[in-house]
C-alpha cells in the first residue's frame, strides 16, 4: 500500500518498515539526507525547498549539520552516525504505553476489588492471577520469593500486549504517522532486539543475583566450575557452564525477537503483494491472494503471539528456580 502511494520501491518499503524511529546525537559536519516526495523532479525539488533543504537531483534533500545536536534519524546513515547513545522512540513509546495499560487494568482491578460483586474485568484479572500463580507454584519450588510471581505476570502480559501489536495491520499506524511527519514507526516493540535483550538481560541479572545469594559466591563459582565432570576437568567444566550461562539470556532475547521479527516480515511481504495495482486481472488476483494470506497468517500468528509471551514467562520462572537451587555436589 504505502510503497505505491509514497513512490517507493518494494525494497524501500520493506526497509522503511523495518527501521525504528531513532533519536540520537549527530556531530557537526554530518550530512543528513531526507527522502523527497513527489512524482517528478520539479515537485521533488519544491518539496525540498519547502523544508529549506538542498535537492540532490535524484531522490533526497540534503543538509549539512553546522553543530552537534540531537536529531531524529532520517535514514540508516544517520542511525549509524548516532552510535550507541541513540534511543528508539517508537519502541520506548509503545512498550511503555502497553506496560502502562497492563498496570492500569490490573491495579484498577486491585483497587476496585469486590469480594461478592466482581465485574467481568475483575474476573478476567483473577483468572490471570490464578493462572500465573499456578504456573509459578508448579515450577518455582526451590525457595520462597515474592518477586517471582508478579514478575512473571508482568512479563507475560507486557510481552503479550507488545506481541499483539503485530496483529495490527502493518500500515495502519505508520502510514498516518508518516503523513503527520514522523519518518519511521515500528509499532511492535518486541521486533526490536533492544527490548527483548533488555528483558533477557534484566532476567539474567536477577538470575546471577539470586544464584550468588542462595549459593554464596563460592558456591556459585563451584557450581560453574565443578560441574558436570568433577574438579579434575575444571577448564572443560568452566567452558561448558559459561556457555550454558550466556546461552540463557541470549536464547531468551533472540527467541522472542526472531519470532516476532519474522512474523512482522511476513506480514510486510504479504502487504507488498496487496500493493500492486488493481486495474489488471493478475493484479486483482494477487490482491485477493494477499488478503487471504494475510488473514491466514494473522490467525496463525495469534498462536505465536500468546505462545512466545508464555515461553518467555515460563523460562524466566524456570531460570529463577535454577538460580534459587542450592549447590549440590554430584
Amino acid at each position: 500500500m504505502a510503497s505505491e502511494s509514497s513512490g517507493r520501491t518494494f525494497q524501500e518499503y520493506l526497509e522503511h518498515h523495518l527501521q525504528n524511529l531513532v533519536y540520537g546525537p549527530l556531530p557537526a559536519g554530518h550530512e543528513r539526507k531526507l527522502y523527497s516526495k513527489g512524482e517528478d523532479e520539479a515537485t521533488k525539488e519544491a518539496y525540498c525547498q519547502e523544508k529549506n533543504l538542498d535537492y540532490d537531483g535524484e531522490k533526497y534533500c540534503k543538509e549539512t549539520l553546522t553543530e552537534d545536536g540531537w536529531y531524529l534519524a532520517n535514514n540508516k546513515t544517520d542511525v549509524e552516525a548516532m552510535g550507541f547513545w541513540a534511543f528508539h522512540i517508537d519502541t520506548m513509546f509503545f512498550s511503555v504505553l502497553l506496560g502502562g495499560i497492563f498496570l492500569f487494568i490490573f491495579s484498577g482491578a486491585a483497587r476496585s476489588f469486590s469480594l461478592d460483586k466482581p465485574t467481568k474485568l475483575q474476573l478476567f484479572v483473577e483468572m490471570m492471577i490464578d493462572f500465573i500463580n499456578g504456573v509459578v507454584k508448579g515450577t518455582f519450588k526451590a525457595a520462597q520469593n515474592s518477586l517471582i510471581a508478579p514478575m512473571a505476570l508482568t512479563i507475560f502480559f507486557w510481552v503479550l500486549l507488545m506481541n499483539v501489536m503485530d496483529l495490527v495491520p502493518v500500515d495502519l499506524i505508520p502510514y498516518p504517522a508518516e503523513v503527520l511527519g514522523i519518518p519511521y514507526l515500528k509499532v511492535v516493540p518486541t521486533t526490536d532486539l533492544n527490548l527483548t535483550a533488555a528483558l533477557a538481560l534484566s532476567v539474567f541479572i536477577l538470575y546471577l543475583f539470586y544464584s550468588v545469594k542462595s549459593k554464596g559466591f563460592i558456591g556459585f563459582i563451584k557450581s560453574i566450575s565443578l560441574h558436570p565432570f568433577g574438579p579434575w576437568m575444571l577448564p572443560a567444566n568452566l567452558f561448558i557452564e559459561i556457555i550454558d550461562l550466556i546461552a540463557k539470556p541470549l536464547s531468551l532475547a533472540l527467541r522472542l525477537y526472531g519470532n516476532l521479527y519474522a512474523g512482522e516480515m511476513i506480514f510486510l511481504l504479504i502487504a507488498g503483494m496487496v500493493s500492486i495495482n488493481l486495474t489488471s486481472f493478475a493484479g486483482l488476483g494477487l490482491n485477493l491472494a494477499g488478503i487471504t494470506l494475510s488473514l491466514i497468517w494473522a490467525i496463525f500468528h495469534i498462536l505465536i503471539v500468546v505462545l512466545q509471551a508464555f515461553i518467555f514467562m515460563m523460562l524466566t520462572v524456570v531460570y529463577m528456580n535454577m538460580a534459587h537451587e542450592k549447590f549440590e555436589q554430584h
Binding site: N20, V22, G24, V79, M82, G83, F84, W85, A86, F87, H88, T91, M92, S95, V96, G99, F102, L103, F106, S107, A109, A110, R111, F113, L115, V125, E126, I129, D130, N133, S146, L147, A149, P150, M151, L153, T154, I155, W158, D192, L193, N194, L195, A197, A198, L199, L201, S202
Partner: protein, 158 residues
C-alpha cells in the same frame, strides 16, 4: 539492527513495571482472592452446619409433634371419661332427686288425704250432730244418744 541506549531505557522501564506490579498489583489482588477463598470455605462450612442444624430441628419437631399428639389424645381420653362420669353422676343425681320429689309428693298426698279424711270426718260428724240435734230436739235430749253417735263415729273411722 543495532543495540543502543534503548536497551538501558527498556531495562529501567522493565524494572519499574515489575516493581510496581510487585508492590501495588500482585499483593492486594492475591490477598483479596485468598480472602474470598477463605470466605467461600467458611460459607460452605457454615451451610453444612446449618443443614445439620435443620435436620436436628426437624427431628426434634417431629418428636415434639408426636409427644403433643400423645398428650392431646390423653387429654381427650380424660375429657371423655370425665364427661361420661359427669353424665353418669348427673343421671344418678337426677334419679335421686326424682325419687326424693316423688316420695315427698307421695307423703304430702298421704298427709292431705289424712287431713281431708279428718276434716271430712269432723264436718260430717258435726253436720250429723246438728242434724241429729235438730231431729232430737223435738223428741229426745241430746245426751241420751251421745253414746250411740260416738260409737257409730268410731265405726266410721275404721
Amino acid at each position: 539492527m543495532n543495540l543502543n541506549a534503548t536497551l538501558l531505557g527498556q531495562m529501567i522501564a522493565f524494572g519499574l513495571f515489575v516493581w510496581f506490579c510487585w508492590k501495588f498489583v500482585w499483593p492486594p489482588l492475591l490477598a483479596a482472592m485468598e480472602e474470598r477463598a477463605e470466605k467461600i470455605e467458611q460459607g460452605l462450612k457454615d451451610s453444612e452446619e446449618s443443614a445439620k442444624k435443620i435436620l436436628d430441628a426437624e427431628e426434634q419437631s417431629k418428636k415434639m409433634l408426636a409427644e403433643a399428639k400423645k398428650e392431646a389424645k390423653k387429654i381427650m381420653d380424660n375429657a371423655k371419661n370425665q364427661s361420661e362420669k359427669i353424665v353418669e353422676e348427673s343421671k344418678n343425681k337426677a334419679t335421686e332427686e326424682k325419687d326424693r320429689i316423688v316420695g315427698s309428693a307421695q307423703s304430702e298426698i298421704e298427709k292431705e288425704v289424712v287431713n281431708a279424711k279428718k276434716t271430712l270426718e269432723k264436718d260430717f260428724a258435726s253436720s250429723v250432730m246438728s242434724a241429729v240435734k235438730k231431729i232430737v230436739a223435738k223428741e229426745v235430749s241430746m245426751s241420751s244418744y251421745q253414746d250411740t253417735v260416738d260409737k257409730s263415729l268410731d265405726d266410721f273411722r275404721k
